[in-house]
């Protein structure tokens, strides 16, 4: 069970969240080339190891968050709000799952 820390709600089970995939992809500007749009929609680093990804706290506060997780061990290094414009929560950025450092 992934235990993901929502920056506002605290640590919650993975089934409260929905997955939004790789957060490192950059959405091209309007008028970007088809190659850029192809890359944005389709190709992924799919990294084995550290992976920056989006999750939505769907069954909680509904905020989208950015999670840095190891795709092999599932260790979570950091979680933060995806939007720069939402007021901060109380507990962002801490590592709180049971993985030993």
């Amino acid at each position: 069970m992934l235990r993901i820390e929502c920056p506002w709600c605290g640590v919650r089970n993975e089934d409260e969240f929905s997955y939004g995939g790789d957060a490192s992809v950059q959405r091209p500007a309007d008028g970007g080339s088809l190659d850029e749009w192809y890359d944005y929609v389709y190709t992924r680093d799919n990294s084995a190891g550290q992976h920056t990804e989006h999750w939505q706290h769907l069954n909680g506060c509904r905020a989208w968050i950015t999670v840095v997780r190891d795709t092999i061990t599932h260790e979570i290094f950091d979680t933060a709000p995806a939007s720069p414009n939402l007021p901060p929560g109380s507990g962002s950025g801490k590592k709180t799952n049971g993985v030993k450092s």
């Binding site: 069970m1 992934l2 993975e14 089934d15 997955y19 790789d22 929609v41 389709y42 190709t43 084995a48």
Partner: protein, 417 residues
């Protein structure tokens, strides 16, 4: 050594001392015509068909662990060709036909069991979708039968047929020629057959790099040194991105975990493969008596060959809802495989921008049933340096062009395929 009832008796009489290695354990040579990276079912099948059909026998299959140790040995062993879209339908049907003679072809009993695959439906809309699919199957030369409630009851008498369930069954779409096979035996059978044609199967040999000159591959760096190659085929589904990273390429693929489960062995209870239309759940009974089942992906990028509880719970809830007597049966083992999830749910068997490097991946969770077909078309593609009619649509380019093969219609979201 030829396997037969006779050889079995002969060996039994001499204390089973005469059996020899099923495949050799060779040292890697310095150079091969073709190197296949990945000693799973697909890689071994590719090597076998290269040798058997295309006369290319100077082939090495490189496996970082032991053969069949990836998804070949971790799936729920279902074989079917009940697809909606033509490229899939015709490819998987070709694979099905290869399955039908595989044990004899390989002289290895892969225990291919055509017990049928039954997809239940619960609403008119699902029935309509089943009719759409079933008709597509017929038009592509695949067998399909539409079953009413009585037809379903005959195949699966212990389902919950009461009205007091959230989604009562109203019928099913069956592919009688579908079924299961003994997954490990498929890898072993192909390995033994390929080996007997001269293919080198090299286990514990991890590819750590790909040496190239411009857009041509020269060979592979491995944990056992550099091995040169004329052509390199990659069949490492679950890890395709990692291998293509070695040549600086990003793929339209993500790796996700799919869990599988088996119960304790019991006397025959389920005589077909059955899927629950309203939950992600599919089940069959192995020849050993265990009920083998699975469900949906865990839903996030993962290379961990293990799964988590929420999906486990959800899968089982679907199973017990479909077939309430399952509640008292005990789960023996839970495991996970790493799926190459392509962005449209369909495999990629294709040439790549690098001249002599070929990709066979993106299998999502459909890889096992494709094993012989996949090896067959991949061998063709490598031998002729061009796609066969059956895999001409399974290109890398289709994503850029928009010619997607999206059975589920969920778009470029691999966790939804």
């Amino acid at each position: 050594m030829h396997y037969s009832a006779l050889s079995l008796v002969k060996q039994a009489l001499s204390g089973n001392r005469g059996w020899t290695r099923a495949w050799r354990n060779p040292e890697p040579k310095k150079q091969y015509d073709v190197i296949i990276i990945g000693g799973g079912g697909h890689g071994l099948a590719t090597a076998y068909y290269l040798a058997k059909l295309h006369g290319i026998t100077d082939v090495a299959v490189l496996e970082k662990g032991y053969i069949g140790g990836g998804n070949t040995g971790r799936n729920t062993t279902i074989v079917r060709s009940n697809y909606l879209l033509k490229p899939n339908s015709q490819f998987y049907e070709h694979s099905m036909k290869l399955w039908e003679g595989l044990s004899q072809d390989l002289n290895y009993n892969v225990m291919f069991s055509q017990r049928g695959v039954l997809n239940l439906f619960h609403t008119d809309a699902q029935r309509d979708a089943a009719v759409h699919r079933g008709n597509a199957m017929h038009l592509n030369g695949v067998d399909a039968e539409l079953l009413d409630l009585d037809g379903v009851k005959k195949l699966m008498p212990h389902l919950d047929f009461s009205r007091n369930t959230r989604f009562p069954v109203i019928g099913g779409l069956s592919q009688p020629r579908g079924g299961t096979a003994r997954h490990d035996a498929v890898a072993w059978g192909f390995a033994r057959a390929a080996d007997s044609l001269g293919v080198d199967i090299i286990q514990k040999c991890e590819v750590t790099g790909i040496r190239r000159a411009g857009d041509k591959v020269l060979g592979v760096e491995t944990s056992r040194g550099f091995i040169g190659a004329g052509q390199v085929g990659v069949a490492v589904a679950g890890n395709s991105s990692r291998v293509f990273n070695m040549v600086g390429m990003k793929l339209p693929i993500e790796s996700h975990v799919l869990q599988a489960f088996v119960t304790e062995g019991i006397k025959p209870l389920i005589d077909t493969v059955c899927t629950f239309g309203m939950g992600h759940f599919y089940i069959s009974q192995s020849d050993k008596g265990g009920l083998v089942f699975g469900g949906d992906l865990d839903g996030y990028n993962s290379y961990a060959q293990r799964g988590n509880l929420p999906t486990f719970n959800h899968v089982v809830a679907g199973g017990v809802t479909m077939m309430p007597c399952l509640a008292r049966l005990r789960i023996l083992r839970q495991w996970g495989g790493v799926m190459d999830m392509s962005m449209d749910g369909t495999p990629i068997i294709s040439k790549t921008p690098i001249h002599n490097l070929y990709l066979n991946g993106g299998w999502c969770y459909g890889g096992f049933k494709a094993t012989p077909g996949s090896g067959w078309v991949f061998a063709y593609t490598i031998a002729h340096d061009k796609a066969h009619e059956l895999n001409k649509d399974f290109t890398l380019e289709r994503f850029r062009e928009g010619s997607l093969i999206d059975e589920k219609g969920v778009g470029a979201s691999p966790n939804a395929h």
